[in-house]
Symmetry: C2
Subunit: 206 residues, 2 copies
DNA sequence: TAGATTGTTAATCGATTAACAATC
DNA sequence: TAGATTGTTAATCGATTAACAATC
């Protein structure tokens, strides 16, 4: 397992993680590859194949134990610890992100929230309060943050991305429609629901 | 071109659409496969290959004209018209979605917003006002809506999904962490930033 | 002409899937 | 035992990429 996973395998393992986390919350103890397939739209054979590359996690005739499979996948993806992230933007989207349980559920802690609007300074958001934008660099360093989430309007996105990069952030999640220019060692994930929707529509219409 | 695109090709074409839309807003007229590659992290050869399967859209030594390439890709993806969608949930996330320019930019119109909270009824959100939840079915039918966006807490997501399905919606975008059970002819896209983040972290840490 | 970039080939690699023996 | 579901094989198909001639 010294080899790095391919992009496809890592993406699918993450999806399994999500399904398993939710299935556990629903009180399930075991799950079959067929059930995971129904929730993820990933072929059941491929799921078994993905998992069996790392060990024999299932029981024939029974399925997979959810708790133990969660642990195995977390080990493979090396996401067992807590991760601190910074959120830029305390507007509606920023508030929605900070108050969502989605991150905490996967061990991701929104350690600091920044906004350039002095009006918003000190306001509670999630389980922290809005910090002064000027303290971004200090905070990223002190809290060992490598992920920044941009919840700002497109017009301010590049500026905020530059500041995150200057602070040492290596992974940026961009929720604006702006295209961001970053150094080669920084990864940008732009989330654009409209684009995903057009793509979903194509398969519906054909 | 009678054949349906493969999932991979359709996904990539959607990404190109996003980059072209933004590049045009930035005032660019032409773009090279290399530039698209930098913004999408998709190999430049593959971009040219994807496009050349549908025609000779570029000029050697020059690149692609953004306007005309946009038109070509929209033709291929059959997304030239306006699409009405329904938004369920007028909380922070719902408000953020409704007020974002991201959908309008791609010809997607949030035609109606619903919330079960009577307090929110009639409030302005985006360019519409919050409608009574009970009128969902009527509205979906009248406005020819096939896409529903769920911006509700996980606890209410399945109920809302059931109502959307009963109303005739065929594509659901789920912004909660809940797993949704739907009939086979309904597509669910669950967006989970935490899962994407774990996946991005894996490639950063290895 | 010189430089740039497309369109296309050719080769490789990984993803996908049906089928089924193994076994719980 | 009967039924269910995994783990694995074998075969196919599509994705990916380097390289380069064509040509703007």
């Amino acid at each position: 397992m010294a080899d790095r996973l391919t992009v496809g395998v890592a993406a699918r393992l993450s999806r399994y993680l999500q399904v398993l986390t939710q299935a556990r919350k629903m009180g399930k103890v075991r799950i079959s590859s067929q059930e995971i397939a129904e929730y993820t739209n990933i072929n059941a054979t491929q799921i078994r194949r993905d998992l069996s590359a790392f060990g024999k996690f299932g029981k024939r005739g029974v399925g997979y134990n959810i708790d133990s499979l969660l642990g195995e996948i977390r080990k493979i993806l090396r996401t067992q610890g807590q991760h601190n992230i910074a959120l830029i933007g305390a507007g509606r989207l920023g508030q929605a992100i900070a108050s969502s349980p989605i991150f905490a559920e996967h061990g991701i802690n929104i350690a600091a929230v920044f906004d350039t609007d002095p009006e918003k300074l000190g306001r509670p958001i999630g389980h922290v309060t809005v910090s002064e934008y000027g303290r971004l660099r200090e905070s990223v360093h002190d809290k060992n943050i490598i992920v920044g989430v941009l919840a700002v309007p497109a017009a301010g996105a590049q500026r905020a991305a530059d500041d995150l990069v200057a602070s040492g952030v290596k992974i940026i999640f961009n929720y604006s429609e702006a295209l961001l220019e970053t150094p080669a060692d920084v990864t940008v994930h732009t989330s654009n629901p409209a684009v995903e929707l057009l793509y979903a529509l194509y398969f519906h219409l054909t």
